[in-house]
């Protein structure tokens, strides 16, 4: 016997009720959470396409090639000849400019898009009334070094662009709806943009022989994109089908003719002082391969893209304009 009464009736009832509740709650919770399936239900994604193209105003050439000593001036001239930036950018648009900023290289090495070309485009977008211009890429090398050493981040930010690093949390799983590309993580700024301007640099590449505008779309993807090389032509065509840009401007101020796509030596670089711009991304690439002495029909990804109605490889048959400044 204890010295005090161990429990009154009231205490007995309260303790029994508490214990009973705890037992009932654990049982209910167990049943509630019970599941025979260890896997999470698969998330279904609706295949999407990013068609950001804008009809070009009548009377202007479909493709423009401008040659001249100033990267800035030839960029401005190319856009003006296509109809002017105002024809493509609406007020309050969020514009994403996609340079090739993949490599830890300086501008002279011609592995990344020319920073002056990017700067000129940012200015033109703001003049056309863009709300915000974002400049970004999913680099192959370490992104901060690529952004800094390419000179693009500094050039773009100096004229008010927002430079966005490809941070891990900024990717979203997307159903690309391609033949070989099904689900892939895509960098969010490319999903949120109102308008996109693709600004590749022309470079040699050992698998596709040349890396131009369509290959530049690799830079919107995260994940292990080195797997794409196994069916590179189909992958590129899939990406081009997924992403239709507002404008494409090929930077051939300097082109990389050996050791692409990252070069490293100035011996690998040819200076052409040229840009080409169009609303037809396939046509830009078709013209681009000729800079390396190839025919567009030598490129399976161009044939695939044309067959899917993404543009034309016969760029000479378009209304075109060549200018020397």
């Amino acid at each position: 016997m204890t010295e005090e009464s161990p429990s009154s009736r009231r205490e007995f009832l309260v303790r029994t009720a508490k214990a009973g509740l705890a037992v009932a709650a654990s049982g209910a919770l167990g049943l509630l959470l019970h599941n025979r399936e260890a896997r999470r239900p698969p998330v279904t994604l609706v295949p999407t396409h990013r068609d950001l193209s804008v009809p070009q105003p009548a009377g202007f050439p479909r493709i423009v090639m401008v040659r001249g000593p100033s990267p800035r001036a030839i960029t401005q001239a190319a856009i003006r000849e296509l109809g002017g930036m105002k024809a493509f950018i609406s007020r309050q648009d969020i514009v994403v400019i996609k340079p090739n900023m993949a490599w830890d290289r300086v501008p002279q090495q011609a592995a990344n898009t020319n920073p002056e070309v990017i700067q000129a485009l940012v200015e033109l977008c703001y003049e056309a009334g863009a709300k915000e211009v974002r400049v970004t890429d999913v680099s192959c090398d370490e992104a901060r070094r690529c952004f800094q050493r390419s000179g693009i981040a500094a050039a773009a930010q100096a004229v008010g662009a927002r430079v966005i690093l490809p941070e891990e949390h900024l990717f979203r799983e997307v159903a690309l709806g391609g033949e070989v590309l099904d689900r892939w993580p895509v960098f969010v700024p490319f999903l949120e943009a109102d308008k996109i301007i693709n600004v590749p640099i022309a470079k040699q590449h050992s698998l596709t022989r040349v890396s131009l505008a369509l290959k530049n779309w690799y830079g919107i993807l995260g994940g292990v994109r080195s797997r794409l090389h196994q069916q590179i032509h189909e992958s590129i065509a899939d990406l081009a089908a997924f992403m239709k840009p507002t404008l494409t401007l090929l930077d051939a101020v300097r082109i990389l003719v050996h050791n692409g796509p990252q070069g490293g030596s100035l011996d690998d670089v040819h200076q052409l002082n040229l840009v080409a711009a169009s609303v037809d991304q396939v046509a830009v690439d078709a013209f681009g391969v000729t800079l390396f002495g190839y025919q567009p029909t030598d490129f399976r990804y161009l044939i695939l893209a044309e067959a899917r109605g993404l543009g034309t490889t016969r760029f000479e048959e378009l209304k075109l304009k060549q200018i020397n400044l």
Partner: protein, 560 residues
């Protein structure tokens, strides 16, 4: 005096204004914050305003390591010279000779953290808290540890970094706790973000961006065996709850060294024994367990100069001053037992031969012992590397990791490159800029890449595993290693061949070959290889420039 009186006395004795104790507190705060600031700055964050070249750190991030007297003394023993910025440590040594262990109580970041975790509230003069601050025989352990480490250093193997408080703290924070904190914070922020509550996700987004830009790296970093580094550090901090500053009192070899130097110190605690009524408030607040109370001599070698005792003494017994009375008040020499010392020396003597009878340094070196560019030859490296983790923290691709046993027992936590996690950026020399002890020699970009007629610095060589390589074994196109190879001309060349697929059809693929002359072992091929679990191309250390023995080809052929 009863407890209430003691408490009142303790409170009353807190002198207003800028007492020396408050100055000490300020100094601890400032140096801890400086330490953390420099730790966070040991990274390339990218500048969108700067002109492209060259990329260097803006702050003297290794200064705490250079102020570390143990680093200076031990590397002098192991290399017979005082390397560059370690000359700063001489200032600390000179000041310690005059003042005693001020470094421990005023500067040392681990000392400050231990102090913080072991802090007792001023109003708790219970016997339990008083007793744990009495001088104990086991406090001599740190001297034996020190002797062991110094003997090992004199024999040519630098192991001080395992226990040196600066290296220990840097390594633990940089390679374990900071990445772990990042993980925790961003999981939380992601969870908040996912809730999609309008007034919550925007601040969470901005906070995340600010944290990434100012403190953490944009993408998470991973360090091998990071859990162990953090676990050891947290254990050290938690031990303070049992015995305040346990690490400082019993283990810290830097504290031991400074304690030995304090025997010449002119500054110390003068005691007016007659005035003491044994209230033991001084003991309650003593950081070093240095016998501040009346009736015994104060121990210069144990005191961290926190000055608490002088501040809390209600009776005017204790005064820090120059030239205190050696006969009545001060014991300058630490309590050193001959047996303990001999054990320490013996352990130090035994370590090197035991470590080196296992193959590793010269014979049968580990193929994954890939050192950063600029690393000196392995024997010299082991005599210099502090295992501080600076190079691993600064590496922009997370390529450098604390070694487990690739470099033998001696090389534990020294840097090795794990190319599956990160690769050596060809134009980056940051690790060579932050090494405080010359284990990695400073390199310019030109020296590293071997421009201007020089050969590039090789850290290893790539090998192709033809059984796993897609074009070699699976009749599938790839070329990813060649595409990413940064040398010009490329160190991976392709040969076009026609191979047969399983269904009997023919396909043209390009099979990669490594050019042994041009490859310098950066590891980007291994990093980017699409065969995810174990890459079909991998780097090993053979051919490294720093070694005369771990070579593959005769060295005289020239790179065109």
């Amino acid at each position: 005096m009863n407890a209430a009186e003691k408490q009142a006395a303790g409170k009353a004795s807190v002198k207003p204004g800028l007492s020396l104790r408050r100055l000490r507190l300020l100094s601890q705060t400032v140096f801890l914050l400086l330490f953390l600031f420099l730790l966070v700055q040991t990274a390339h964050r990218g500048s969108f305003r700067q002109v492209p070249e060259p990329i260097r750190l803006s702050y003297p991030v290794k200064i705490f390591l250079e102020l570390d007297a143990l680093n200076a003394v031990a590397t002098v023993l192991s290399t017979h010279s005082l390397y560059r910025g370690l000359l700063w440590a001489v200032l600390v040594i000179m000041a310690t000779l005059l003042l005693g262990r001020f470094f421990c109580g005023w500067l040392c970041p681990l000392g400050t953290l231990n102090h913080l975790f072991g802090a007792t509230r001023r109003s708790e003069p219970s016997p339990k808290y008083i007793e744990r601050n009495r001088t104990r025989p086991w406090q001599s352990l740190k001297y034996y540890v020190l002797f062991g480490l110094l003997v090992a250093a004199a024999l040519g193997t630098l192991q001080i970094g395992l226990l040196d408080p600066i290296s220990l703290t840097l390594r633990s924070l940089a390679l374990s706790l900071l990445p772990a904190l990042r993980y925790l914070l961003f999981e939380l922020l992601d969870a908040i973000y996912e809730l999609r509550i309008p007034f919550l996700w925007l601040p969470a987004d901005y906070l995340g961006r600010a944290l990434r830009a100012a403190i953490f790296t944009p993408n998470p970093t991973y360090y091998r065996v990071g859990w162990l580094l953090g676990g050891i550090f947290l254990t050290i901090l938690l031990l303070n709850r049992l015995i305040p500053r346990f690490f400082c009192r019993a283990i810290c070899p830097l504290g031991a060294l400074l304690g030995l130097l304090a025997r010449f110190s002119l500054f110390g605690l003068e005691k007016n024994h007659e005035q003491c009524d044994d209230c033991n408030l001084c003991l309650l607040h003593c950081q070093g367990a240095a016998s501040p109370q009346g009736g015994v001599k104060w121990r210069a070698a144990e005191c961290t100069l926190c000055l608490n005792c002088q501040d809390v003494c209600p009776r005017d017994v204790l005064h820090f001053r120059f030239f205190p009375n050696l006969r009545t008040s001060v014991a300058l020499q630490p309590d050193l037992g001959r047996r303990g010392l001999l054990t320490g020396v013996f352990a130090g003597l035994a370590f090197l031969p035991l470590a080196r009878v296992s193959p590793g340094v010269e014979k049968n070196s580990h193929p994954q012992r890939i050192r950063p560019p600029g690393a000196v030859a392995e024997e010299e490296f082991l005599a210099r590397c502090l295992k501080c983790g600076e190079c691993m923290k600064v590496c922009p691709t997370n390529a450098l990791h604390p070694a487990w046993f690739e470099a033998g027992l001696e090389g534990l936590w020294s840097p090795v490159l794990i190319a599956r996690v990160g690769y050596c950026v060809d134009s980056c020399v940051l690790c060579t800029q932050v090494c405080p002890s010359g284990a990695i020699q400073p390199l310019s970009e030109e020296e590293k890449l071997g421009q201007a007629g020089k050969r590039p610095v090789k850290i290893g060589l790539a090998f192709i595993d033809r059984g796993r390589c897609l074009p070699w074994a699976m009749a599938t196109e790839c070329i990813v290693c060649e595409e990413h190879c940064p040398t010009s001309p490329k160190a991976i060349r392709l040969e076009e061949v026609v191979v047969t697929r399983p269904d009997g059809s023919k396909i043209k693929v390009r099979q990669p070959y490594v050019d042994v002359e041009r490859c310098w072992g950066c590891g980007i091929c291994e990093y980017k290889c699409p065969v995810r679990d174990r890459a079909a191309i991998y780097v090993t250390s053979v051919g490294e420039t720093r070694s005369l023995t771990n070579r593959l080809l005769l060295p005289e052929r020239r790179v065109s």
